[in-house]
């Protein structure tokens, strides 16, 4: 009987020790600083993205301690749901050498530890970011801050170059999408149409998904050597040239004009511009 009591007592001590160890929040670890821009651009998690925060965590214990960083709204998907993000290591002045998920434990050495966490937002607006330093189930410290996630600011540019080959005038259409905002625009649906102004019929068109990074300008054509749209006007026979890899090609006669329209759509942002090619009839050489 005495032996059984002893065993029960030992069991209770063991369970208590486990529970105490699991929920022990007496470990002296705290967040001392969070360095973060208060305004970020909409962007997914990418290793070459600038969206990140640096957290300084002080470990006042005498030995390394394993922790997990639990985050809320550090990475928010397109549905507005908070998901796990990544911790990056080994910055050499231009890039990081490795990364790990916030699901994984990291080790804090005694003293000051700088941890870089990637942020990513597929939605715009204000986000309340929460960071918890966890040791097993115990919260050792937590901090929160807000970031304002900005959208891209899109605009478009259209122009053309004309070259003459015998009786042909070939108009190469140049189209650009500009982003004057901090947000990165991915999956920008971009449509280039060549329209007959008399009938309003779309004679040729091409649609592409384009990425426009923050504060940048992206050409519609991904090919180095070719435009995506070509208008060939001839005073005689048109050529057999398919103008590959251009996808929107219209062949007509000198004296004709076409409306070239560029429409870009990113979520609720719709921007468009149009030009007439040739700008005036006299440019094509024949007065009408």
């Amino acid at each position: 009987m005495r032996k059984e009591l002893l065993l029960i007592l030992l069991g209770i001590i063991l369970v208590s020790a486990t529970v105490w160890w699991h929920y022990d929040s007496s470990i002296d670890i705290s967040i001392t600083e969070i360095s973060a821009p208060r305004t970020l651009g909409v962007d997914t998690i990418r290793t070459d993205s600038m969206n990140e925060i640096e957290i300084v965590i002080q470990n006042n214990e005498t030995k390394p301690v394993e922790i997990k960083l639990e985050t809320e709204n550090a990475f928010v998907d397109a549905n507005g749901k908070s998901v796990d993000t990544f911790i990056v290591f080994g910055y050499d002045g231009s890039k990081y050498s490795s990364y790990t998920s916030t699901r994984d434990k990291i080790t804090l050495k005694p003293g000051e530890n700088k941890v870089t966490l990637l942020l990513g937002y597929k939605v715009t607006g204000e986000q309340n970011v929460q960071i918890k330093v966890m040791n097993n189930e115990a919260v050792l410290d937590e901090e929160s801050f807000t970031v304002n996630v900005m959208p891209p600011e899109l605009s478009v540019e259209l122009s053309y170059d004309m070259i003459t080959e015998g009786e042909l005038e070939i108009y190469d259409i140049n189209a650009y999408i500009l982003n004057g905002g901090l947000g990165r625009a991915e999956n920008v649906e971009t449509k280039l149409s060549i329209i007959d102004p008399e009938t309003n019929d779309v004679r040729a068109s091409v649609v592409k998904d384009i990425v426009v990074p923050a504060y940048s300008k992206s050409p519609f054509s991904t090919w180095q050597s070719s435009p995506e749209g070509v208008i060939e006007l001839s005073s005689g026979e048109n050529s057999d040239d398919k103008y590959m890899p251009a996808k929107a090609v219209v062949k007509g006669k000198k004296g004709e004009q076409y409306i070239v329209k560029l429409t870009v759509t990113w979520r609720d942002q719709v921007v468009e511009d149009q030009i007439i090619i040739p700008r005036n009839n006299s440019e094509s050489g024949d007065e009408i």
């Binding site: 990140e52 002045g93 500009l178 050409p219």
Partner: protein
């Protein structure tokens, strides 16, 4: 010159002395121990540790391999230096493996065990361990066959090591169809390198494996085993569809002494064009001279399929028989011939006889067909490094670069010019920056970026005024930045500051400014860094350039950014690096 002669004479004298000592040492060593001297690694180890002979051998080795010795030391230094970029460390790994020098084994093992090293470096080092290691490393590599990251590299390495102890583990891998194709391929090749007959039965079975890659590796390996049991199953593979399975089988059969040539020539009449084509490749790979007359017949046969004729013409390039030049030139000149058949001829002509080919090709450089003309120009890339022959083609290629009516020809001319003419190409390429075709301009700019020639500055600046293509502008900017010409600075500043400019161009310009220790450059970079409403990537590049310039005038602004907790952390980190750079320079 005199000193060089003296040095050569001194080395010869030392070599003779060392040879005498070595001969003496070998004889006395053998007499003393009664053991035979074999060139396997363990015996070398014993002799190195045992007598005066070892020091003589070491000295002799150092004398002969003095350059290699220095190189090995240098490659090891690069490999173990963690601040080196990974590309250099990987290259050092390759060079060390290639040297076969056993001193590399220890640093290799340290990197393999260090899990903080990058995966790719550890894989590369593991793959090369077998080239520098010895039997002591067999167990380590066998153990690593179970490592998810290093398994394939270990299998490869075991082949180089050649220790028969690895045969069974490698056979287990090859026999296990649930293993990855790459892993099984590596095991098959290594079994071939080890050459143990225990593996022959399994390798023969693998000739019928579902994977054509396993089939071809097994075929190659069987050739290494020297086992005649493989002849019949290898012969069955000669009419298969996969080119490497056929060529490897042919090579293996050749090594085993089978009449493979007859079998392959018979297959040249096979109804399947792939079999005919593969038979040509296989005959070519076993280097049978008598096949060339057959290849020429196929090349001239206008009823044969284009692909087969191209294979035959290409195979003729392995011959050095000048009699082939005339019939091949006839094919090249014949306007009624198929374009793709004609286009393969120039390279073959150069392979057969460079000098004669150049004379013929330069004469025919005005051939009407654009693709054939482009192929002639492109064939001159084969002359890369041949200082004697290159001057013969520079002028005609330069003429085509600037005057040919068709851009594909001009493009090939730009590529060839950059490849073969080296720095002498920069004048021609600078002129090509005005080409009407953006691809030609882009190639010219890309190669000018490597040449860093100050004389191209003006051409680049003019070309940038009109260029609209994003990538071409990027290359032009890079080329301009690399001229290190102070005249380029105002343009680079302008490109960096222009918000209407492509971001890649702005960033390239900001990078390029990092070598100009000019107060105006520092000021412009500081302005970019201060513009919080500009691209963070550009601002970070400006910081890196400020750090490279090391101008103390930037310390204030950098310190301010470093203290700004609202700033992008990555910009702050780059600022810390930049400040460290500047402080280091100040201290020194």
């Amino acid at each position: 010159m005199k000193r060089a002669h003296e040095s050569v004479l001194r080395n010869v004298a030392i070599l003779l002395l060392a040879t005498l000592f070595v001969s003496f040492g070998l004889v006395s060593g053998v007499c003393a121990s009664g053991e035979s001297v074999q060139m396997d690694e363990d015996n070398i180890q014993i002799s190195e540790d045992s007598s005066i002979l070892s020091s003589i051998m070491r000295y002799f080795g150092l004398l002969v391999y003095d350059d290699q010795d220095k190189n090995v030391t240098r490659w090891i230094e690069i490999l173990v230096n963690r601040s080196e970029i990974e590309e250099n460390r990987s290259y050092a790994t390759y060079m060390l493996g290639d040297s076969g020098d056993s001193r590399a084994a220890k640093p290799f093992l340290i990197i393999i065990e260090d899990t903080e090293e990058s995966d790719s470096l550890r894989q590369s080092v593991t793959g090369n361990l077998g080239k520098v290691g010895n039997k002591k490393h067999t167990d380590i590599l066998i153990e690593m066959l179970d490592d998810n990251l290093l398994d394939i590299s270990s299998a490869v390495s075991l082949g180089y090591l050649g220790d028969k102890k690895a045969v069974e583990p490698l056979m287990n891998i090859l026999a296990n169809e649930s293993m990855s194709e790459n892993m099984r391929q590596a095991a098959a090749r290594s079994l071939g390198q080890i050459g143990d007959k225990r593996a022959v039965k399994l390798l023969i079975e693998c000739l019928e494996d579902e994977s054509q890659y396993i089939q071809s590796e097994a075929a190659w390996a069987l050739g290494e085993t020297g086992d005649e049991r493989a002849i019949e199953p290898l012969a069955d593979l000669l009419d298969k569809e996969y080119e490497f399975a056929v060529t490897n089988s042919a090579e293996a059969l050749n090594k085993l002494g089978a009449p493979v040539e007859d079998m392959l020539i018979e297959n040249l009449d096979h109804q399947d064009i792939n079999v005919r084509k593969n038979s040509i490749y296989a005959l070519s790979s076993i280097g049978e001279q008598s096949s060339y007359s057959v290849f020429l017949k196929i090349a001239e046969d206008r009823t044969e399929y284009e692909e087969v004729r191209r294979a035959a013409i290409s195979a003729l390039g392995r011959s050095d028989d000048d009699d082939l030049i005339e019939p091949l030139t006839d094919i090249l000149k014949n306007e009624n011939e198929k374009r793709n058949v004609r286009a393969i001829v120039p390279r073959t002509l150069i392979d057969i006889d460079e000098e004669k080919a150049i004379k013929i090709l330069i004469k025919d450089i005005k051939i009407k067909d654009t693709e054939v003309r482009a192929s002639i120009v492109s064939s001159f890339r084969k002359l890369e490094g041949d200082k004697e022959k290159i001057p013969m083609v520079i002028e005609p290629v330069a003429y085509l670069l600037l005057n040919d009516a068709q851009w594909p020809v001009r493009k090939q001319a730009a590529i060839v010019m950059a490849d073969i003419a080296g720095e002498n190409a920069s004048g021609h390429l600078s002129l090509a920056l005005n080409d009407e075709n953006p691809e030609v301009r882009s190639i010219a700019a890309m190669h000018l970026a490597y040449m860093a020639d100050e004389n191209s500055t003006e051409h680049l600046i003019n070309a940038l005024e009109n260029e609209t293509n994003k990538y071409t502008r990027g290359y032009m900017t890079r080329a301009l930045a690399r001229t290190n010409d102070s005249n380029a600075v105002p343009i680079l500043v302008q490109l960096m500051q222009d918000r209407e400019e492509y971001l890649n161009v702005r960033i390239t310009a900001a990078e390029g400014l990092g070598v100009h220790k000019d107060d105006n450059v520092t000021k412009a970079l500081i302005e970019v860094l201060e513009s919080k409403d500009d691209s963070p990537d550009l601002r970070r590049t400006a910081v890196i350039s400020l750090g490279n310039i090391n101008n103390p005038a930037a310390v204030n602004i950098l310190s301010r950014v470093e203290a700004d907790r609202d700033e992008h952390p990555r910009i702050r980190k780059s600022v810390r690096h930049a400040l460290e750079n500047i402080q280091e320079v100040e201290v020194s």
